[in-house]
Symmetry: C2
Subunit: 232 residues, 2 copies
């Protein structure tokens, strides 16, 4: 439908606030008159490109403590099963998400007729790192059964996506998506880009949904606008 | 009424997000079953005490651009007349708010039977710095007509509050309030401390009202729960 407002969600599975934004937007996809476009990108590239320090919350103890508490409260309120990994800094910054986001990009590249697979694969990667404290950097992590089970991908699909993930084409595609997010003013994730009235309104983080709804002429109905337990 | 939940709002008039939080809490004071306590404090002391860099948003151009846009959108949505000063960094960090917050603390110290004066004086100081691009550091700025007019203070009241503001007692009181906020985990302002079920829940910023309402068993009705135009 041409009247649908396009909303692009730039995210990285290494970012827990992105998971909140992702679930909320997936829930509202069928509530608001929007066309949601999933835009996997690379947080490391954003931080570097924007000159932002990825470890800065860790340098301010009160900020780190608050973020932990805040995530815990939001996870409950949003009904997203976030559990910080045992070493969040190692998981987020030392290990990182480059291979994982290239894999997500490859899954998206191969998928035709929708984005069910890229949605499921993204969610399963979040579940691994931000719920089960599991690795997302090694190829064997990406082939694990949960991803296949939920995303409806065969062994061969996974193998092909893994091979594709290391190609120049996919590396370039992820880089381009990251640069695009930077161009829209990103300095972190999630970034939600709303195309409204011929212009673009960029929202950072997972705490502007009510304002965003107002901006696109929709109504904010809380983090769970209807029964969506099937997704999680 | 003993059933009212105590909510403490720690703020500094140099912080525009504090203004949003302040107006929202003043509006909800008569909507939710709460006892709102205004806690003027000093942002400079928080940043130093928490090891946070006050100028960090300025070092990340995308972050600074976003904050400007975000404030503008929130100001409209919250109906608070925020207009950034011509040089926000000079106003916020070079000039600062120590004298202004000592004055607010002195007004609060002198006031009996409520907090109408401290509320009005705080609002008028925000209006000066964050709406009219006027100074809030000099004694003559603090005696200007708008403050007297709105806060119902006489010339003598203002003189006495200005004298009291430089006393050790008031300096110590502001310092104590700032240290208390730090002890609750503050790394910036506003900080909203909710006393619930014998414990304390701390919320930072002006984007957790819906979560906060959920936490204290109230309902979030948007930034303007009822007609409140009289305040502004």
């Amino acid at each position: 439908m041409s009247s649908k407002k396009v909303i692009e969600l730039f995210y990285d599975v290494v970012s827990p606030y992105s998971w909140l934004g992702f679930e909320v937007m997936c829930r509202y996809r069928n509530v608001w008159n929007i066309d949601l476009k999933l835009r996997p990108a690379f947080l490391g590239g954003i931080m570097k490109g924007a000159g932002n320090s990825p470890k800065s919350p860790g340098l301010v103890p009160n900020k780190f403590l608050y973020m932990t508490k805040d995530l815990n409260r939001l996870a409950q309120y949003f009904n997203v099963p976030i559990q910080p990994p045992s070493d969040p800094f190692e998981a987020m910054f030392d290990k990182g998400s480059l291979a994982a986001m290239r894999f997500v990009t490859a899954v998206q590249e191969r998928e035709t007729g929708g984005d069910e697979q890229v949605e499921c694969v993204s969610r399963e990667l979040w579940r691994r790192i931000w719920s089960q404290d599991k690795d997302i950097t090694k190829p064997e992590s990406l082939t694990e059964v949960n991803i296949k089970l939920h995303a409806g991908l065969s062994n061969r699909d996974i193998e092909e996506a893994l091979a594709l993930a290391t190609s120049d084409k996919i590396k370039e595609k992820l880089k381009k998506a990251t640069e695009e997010a930077l161009g829209h003013g990103s300095f972190g994730f999630p970034v939600i880009l709303c195309h409204v009235n011929g212009g673009k309104e960029m929202f950072f983080g997972s705490d502007r949904f009510e304002l965003m709804a107002h901006c696109i002429g929709e109504k904010w109905l809380g983090p769970q606008p209807k029964e969506v337990s099937a997704n999680l």
